[in-house]
């Protein structure tokens, strides 16, 4: 019993960590989706970043968000209506709720999960100075 209980305990804590990681990923996907939709209808890149950050439940800062554009209609200009706007984020989830701390106490490297969801939407506005993807 004394041997098995810690293993179960660590397993449950790792489950909690995994669950939290999945929740983070859902939040980030929602944030990039909202940011991209905002990007489709606005001309202001900072507004896209602000929307993404605001929808991330505090997970992201402005520096974590990238916004770029692709010329889809082949006219050599990016940011025309009908072109593509891409909103992506970078976030590293480090196991910490319990499993991570236990693992580090035992000298095991705490696992990290890199998350970089993105979303592409079609522009409905023209954007000047659109950065290239």
């Amino acid at each position: 019993m004394a041997l098995v209980l810690p293993i179960i305990f660590v397993f449950i804590l790792l489950l909690v960590d995994f669950g939290t990681a999945l929740d983070r990923r859902e939040v980030l996907q929602h944030a990039v989706r909202e940011g991209a939709r905002r990007g489709a209808v606005t001309t202001n890149i900072s507004e896209i970043v602000n929307t993404t950050v605001a929808q991330s439940q505090g997970l992201l800062e402005a520096d974590d968000v990238t916004v770029c554009y692709t010329d889809m209609n082949g006219n050599g200009r990016r940011g025309d209506p009908g072109d593509d706007v891409k909103v992506g984020v970078n976030y590293t989830y480090r196991f910490s709720v319990g499993g991570g701390e236990l693992l580090s106490a035992w000298g095991v490297t705490v696992p990290e999960i890199e998350m970089d969801p993105w979303a592409d939407m079609r522009l409905e506005n023209s954007v000047s100075g659109a950065p290239k993807c």
């Binding site: 397993f11 995994f18 859902e26 939709r37 025309d80 209506p81 979303a119 592409d120 939407m121 079609r122």
Partner: protein
């Protein structure tokens, strides 16, 4: 020599013959816990995939709906539905691919005229179901199979809802000549000249272009009668930007013969509207503007047409027949007015509404000056506070601006008109 059961009972403090029961229970418990954990993890993964699929479906369907803007709205018969569908489907696949969704995973693609945002003569909707594939990482150990993960989305094209309400004001298009309307299509009936700056005269009984309409009073006369508060009600409605109180135009497209029943479908002349008090009410109406200017304009505080609408092809100087898309902002300068044929000679006569037009208020013009903020002659009261000269009633003024939309009475108010700014929204 002790056998296993005796040894276990001795070491664990149990009785001989009971050793191993806890071990079996523990193994069972561990198995159950692991199974539950595995299922929880897999379900979490599937839910994440489901959200990703929804994002992909939304993006692809919106991209396809945007392609529908290339249709000819003025003459729908000139459209080639197969090529429109093909272009929309290509856009769907392009944006699906950009979101890492293969063409094979775009299911139930339907590009059709479903009238999802009101009657239309054009193809107006794109529906898809995005399919994602997620493995059963742990559930498969216990014999589980990953489900089919999909998410549907439908994007629709329709006319923009141009104002929060109907400004309780009517224009007559078969009355005194004006630069605001003309017989554009040669059918003998005048239409607003869309996109052309003009002025509506208020308050002059001889040459009115516009006046207030009688507001539905729900059984009492308090909404329109000048002697019982109707004028103040009208003014309050203007300041709110629409008829959204108990007093409002009730039946937008009435049967003309039923106007005498006074169910609100009729509009009546209310003389003397064009006073400085009305000027003040317009000033207060547009005092809340700035969102469109802040988001899309030069930040001079005034919402202008180019800051409210954008040509769908991005042309900065679009021609008059361009297809416009409403920007993502609201402006009190964009109001809906009732269109009537001609004001009756006498007050309180039926004035059936023929259509609704969307008018962008550029400013107010008095005898000697034009002001974008509709301030009074001495330039005071720009802040929208109580004006000092409320009791004075010193004549007419002109409302300058341009018509940007016309919803005709032949159909529902949401019908896609050839002039109407368009909107693309997700309905599913």
């Amino acid at each position: 020599m002790l056998n296993w059961e005796e040894a276990a009972g001795k070491w664990l403090g149990g009785h001989p013959g009971e050793g191993g029961q806890a071990l079996i229970l523990m193994l069972l418990a561990i198995t159950v816990i692991f199974a539950m954990g595995a299922i929880a993890l897999d379900f979490g993964l599937w839910l994440t995939e489901r959200q990703g699929a929804q994002k992909d479906a939304d993006s692809a369907s919106l991209a396809g709906a945007y392609e529908l803007l290339r249709q000819d709205f003025a003459d729908p018969a000139d459209n080639d539905p197969p090529s429109v569908r093909a272009a929309a489907e290509d856009a769907v696949y392009d944006w699906a691919k950009l979101n890492d969704l293969s063409q094979a995973d775009v299911g139930k693609l339907l590009v059709a005229d479903t009238d999802c945002l009101g009657p239309s003569q054009v193809i107006d909707s794109v529906s898809i179901a995005a399919e994602h594939h997620s493995p059963a990482l742990f559930t498969s150990i216990f014999g589980g199979v990953a489900p089919e993960i999909g998410a549907p989305a439908t994007a629709c094209l329709g006319s923009a809802s141009t104002a929060t309400g109907v400004l309780p004001m009517a224009i007559q298009i078969r009355g005194p000549s004006s630069g605001c309307w003309a017989d554009l299509d040669g059918d003998g009936k005048a239409e607003p000249r869309l996109g052309v700056t003009c002025a509506l005269t208020l308050g002059d009984e001889e040459s009115d272009h516009a006046t207030s309409i009688r507001l539905y009073d729900n059984g009492s006369d308090d909404c329109s009668d000048r002697n019982t508060g109707g004028y103040d009600e009208w003014r309050d409605q203007v300041e709110k930007g629409g008829a959204d109180s108990e007093c409002h135009v009730y039946n937008y497209f009435p049967d003309g013969n039923r106007c005498n029943s006074d169910q609100g479908g009729c509009a009546y002349v209310l003389p003397g509207v064009g006073s400085d008090r009305a000027l003040a009410s317009f000033r207060r109406l547009i005092s809340g503007e700035g969102e469109c200017d802040e988001k899309f304009g030069d930040r001079d505080g005034i919402d202008e047409l180019r800051e409210i609408l954008v040509a769908s092809d991005g042309d900065p100087s679009p021609p008059g027949d361009a297809v416009f898309v409403r920007r993502d902002c609201a402006s009190p300068r964009l109001v809906s007015l009732a269109v009537v044929g001609r004001f009756p000679n006498q007050p309180s006569r039926p004035m059936p509404i023929e259509a609704f037009a969307t008018f962008l208020i550029a400013g107010c013009e008095t005898e000697d000056r034009f002001d974008t903020r509709c301030s009074d002659d001495d330039g005071e009261n720009n802040g929208g506070g109580e004006e000092e000269d409320d009791d004075e009633d010193d004549g007419q003024f002109r409302l300058r601006g341009s018509f940007v939309d016309l919803l005709v009475s032949s159909g529902a108010a949401d019908e896609i008109s050839k002039w109407s700014p368009k909107r693309i929204i997700l309905v599913e």
